[in-house]
């Protein structure tokens, strides 16, 4: 046990005292600080700038380019302009072909050619990802049509306004175990990304660290000084603890910064939803980080021990990295589609190599029966232990193999011999 603690301490401080490691942590904490203090920082700057009276630009002036409108009366266009606040509308008598040419040569940013009661052509050079113009025009024309029809049926102006201005009020009630996916999407995404990065990053740290000890030949002195299991477990726990500490520092400072600036972020729903992570989800994230990290760190450690030179390491760890990246891709695809209960992710949430991320996302984004969580965690724990034993045996045999990386067949033979 004392030996394990020695190795643990050495490996932990290997990172915790490393200048690059400390610098990266501080930079990330500082970056989080800048982002979360942004409203305050902004207000300091804008306070300085706006101190001379700002008269030149009225606040509501549209910021977009000029959009030509044809086929509407001036009065109708004013109505449309009230809805399309971002663009400056200009009435035009030209036909669609002429306007298309003018949009092409840059005279107008876009053009709206109303061709009938319920039809129009929208001419634009680039259709922006968030261009809402057509939706606004659709709504405007539809209301115009409804108003015309209602007038012809003899409705009064007030009635028409009431009818068209009617809005539905909705109240959403959720059962206790459910999750609001809109609310949970962002923090789930961020925690998933953190899980992915942490497991991959620190797992590879372990592989590199083992391979370095091998290529520098410190390994022979190490394994004659203490037992390989202490070396391996000490290294994996030491690296994992340093990693966890780093993440806790970064995420913890985000929380502190957010809470210091809570008032400034009240209007930003995304930021608010990110920091409204329920405690149990956070605990699940830590649980799956620990289990997933161990599972992958064992594999990375074993692979690190079979290469003789650092240069061979990237190739050797490729299969494991691939496995993990594929798992991540599957989970992210499901998360983005909003369907976190599809068959694939359900299967993935029980397969140990994918379950840390898959089960976590299922829990965060929906309601998973308790027995499924227990089963998934149980499988994960058992496989981690099994992989741990196999990794320790490979490590024991691999640390002194130099030359060509051993073939799988040879490794199996070594494992048999040990058993």
């Amino acid at each position: 046990m004392r030996h394990f603690l020695q190795v643990f301490r050495f490996e932990f401080f290997n990172y915790a005292k490393n200048k690059v490691f400390i610098a990266i942590t501080l930079i990330l904490v500082a970056a989080a600080g800048v982002v979360l203090f942004f409203p305050q920082i902004q207000s300091v700057f804008s306070a300085e700038e706006s101190s001379p009276p700002a008269q030149e630009q009225p606040a509501d002036e549209p910021t977009g380019g000029v959009v030509a409108v044809s086929g509407l009366t001036a009065e109708e266009m004013a109505g449309l302009a009230a809805a399309l606040t971002d663009s400056r509308l200009q009435l035009s008598e030209e036909n669609a072909d002429q306007l298309q040419a003018e949009v092409a040569n840059g005279t107008y940013e876009a053009a709206i050619v109303v061709t009938g009661e319920l039809s129009y052509t929208y001419i634009a050079e680039t259709l922006g990802l968030y261009d809402m113009t057509t939706a606004v025009v659709d709504e405007y024309l539809l209301n115009r049509y409804r108003a015309t029809q209602l007038t012809s049926l003899g409705a009064s102006t007030e009635t028409i306004e009431t009818v068209l201005g009617a809005r539905v009020e909705s109240t959403i009630l959720q059962t206790e175990n459910g999750t609001d996916q809109m609310q949970s999407f962002f923090y789930t995404y961020i925690l998933l990304l953190a899980l992915y990065m942490a497991i991959l990053l620190y797992g590879q740290f372990v592989a590199t660290s083992v391979a370095t000890e091998k290529s520098s030949r410190a390994m022979e002195l190490l394994i004659t000084s203490t037992k390989p299991k202490y070396l391996m477990f000490g290294k994996i726990l030491g690296t994992g603890s340093a990693g966890l500490l780093q993440f806790i520092l970064i995420f913890g400072s985000c929380f502190v910064f957010y809470n210091l600036n809570k008032d400034s972020w009240q209007e930003n729903e995304i930021i608010q939803s990110i920091f409204n992570i329920p405690t149990d989800i956070l605990l699940y994230a830590i649980l799956f980080f620990i289990l997933g990290y161990f599972l992958y760190a064992f594999m990375y450690g074993a692979l690190g021990s079979v290469v003789s030179k650092l240069e061979q390491l990237n190739l050797a760890v490729l299969p494991v990295t691939f496995l993990f990246v594929i798992a991540f891709t599957v989970v992210v695809a499901s998360l983005s589609s909003g369907d976190t209960e599809n068959l694939l992710i359900q299967i993935c949430s029980f397969v140990p190599f994918t379950s840390p991320m898959a089960m976590f996302v299922r829990i965060a984004m929906g309601s998973v029966p308790v027995w499924q969580i227990l089963l998934s965690v149980g499988i994960l724990v058992l496989s981690t232990i099994a992989v741990g034993f196999a990794a320790a045996a490979i490590y024991r045999a691999g640390v002194l193999m130099y030359g060509k990386p051993p073939k799988l067949r040879e490794l199996v033979a070594v494992l048999r011999e040990k058993a």
Binding site: F10, R217, A218
Partner: protein
């Protein structure tokens, strides 16, 4: 502590590297494991260190060796420490791994760095040192825990004569305070100076084993070397030797070698030389150097 190795065997795949070797290393003396490149020295040492298993027995004071109980200092053939770590820090780490308390480890590191004249490098990274100095650090690391059994695999390779001398002094000190020292080498001059027993390993087998001076005495003492300024005159004079004394006479520049028929005849030869006109500088019985013995036993 007495280290006994009995009938060690080891195969790497098809290749039989050790074919049943046995030797003994006693407390208060140095035992040299000698052999050409690839003879199996490092394999034997690694088996003693438990780096890998194989056939045979390794006994410490008559009982199977308990490596976790016995304090062993080890200098591996493939030198290896952390190149990017400060020297004192990693020395303390290795000492702690081998069971020392941190405080004692720090004191031992200080002591050994001073003994090997390396104090100024304590906080330097290992890879900033020259190869010879790195080797001194490696030796200091092996001796930190004050081990009763010291195993040095090729300790002299890469050391300049001054550092080799320093190493020799350190090892001699350890021998004098009763430590058991086992080391491998193919540099016979160093071995000859402080090894009491040797084991010559050739192609996985011990071809010669025992007390070095006894081995040397074991060679027949019929060969007499006569150093002279005029070898031809001496050779001519020796033609008049009474019959039955010399079996064979060889001449080389400044040296005449007389192979006697019986070792006891050297006095008769001396008596003859007293009467003969040819001058000579010295007369000596030929004793093989360790180098000669080594070459004799390991030549293909």
């Amino acid at each position: 502590m007495k280290l006994e190795v009995r009938n060690l065997t080891k195969n790497f795949g098809e290749k039989e590297v050790l074919k049943g070797i046995s030797f003994t290393a006693e407390a208060g003396s140095a035992t040299g494991l000698l052999g050409r490149n690839g003879a199996g020295k490092t394999t034997a040492i690694r088996m003693i260190m438990g780096v890998f298993g194989g056939g045979g027995e390794i006994l410490a004071d008559g009982a199977p060796i308990r490596r976790d109980k016995i304090n062993i200092g080890y200098l591996p053939e493939e030198r290896g420490l952390y190149p990017k770590k400060p020297i004192a820090e990693q020395m303390v780490y290795f000492a702690c791994l081998r069971g020392m308390k941190t405080r004692d480890a720090k004191a031992a590191v200080k002591k050994w760095l001073a003994r090997l004249e390396m104090e100024e490098y304590a906080d330097k990274k290992l890879d900033t040192l020259s190869k010879g100095n790195q080797q001194k650090i490696q030796l200091a690391t092996a001796l930190l825990t004050d081990p009763e059994l010291i195993i040095l695999d090729e300790p002299f390779s890469g050391l300049d004569p001054v550092n080799a001398m320093l190493l020799k002094d350190v090892v001699t000190e350890q021998i004098n305070i009763g430590k058991t020292v086992l080391f491998s080498s193919h540099q016979m001059n160093y071995v000859e100076e402080f090894c009491r027993t040797i084991a010559i390993l050739n192609q996985g087998k011990i071809v010669l084993n025992g007390n070095l001076s006894e081995i040397k005495r074991g060679y027949d003492r019929r060969k007499i070397l006569l150093r002279t300024q005029n070898a031809e005159a001496m050779a001519a004079a020796l033609q008049n030797l009474p019959d039955g004394i010399a079996a064979h006479i060889d001449t080389a520049p400044n040296l005449v070698t007389v192979q006697l028929q019986k070792a006891e005849d050297k006095k008769a030869l001396a008596a003859f030389l007293g009467t003969c006109s040819a001058d000579f500088d010295s007369m000596a019985v030929y004793e093989p150097s360790l180098n000669d013995i080594f070459v004799e036993y390991t030549e293909d």
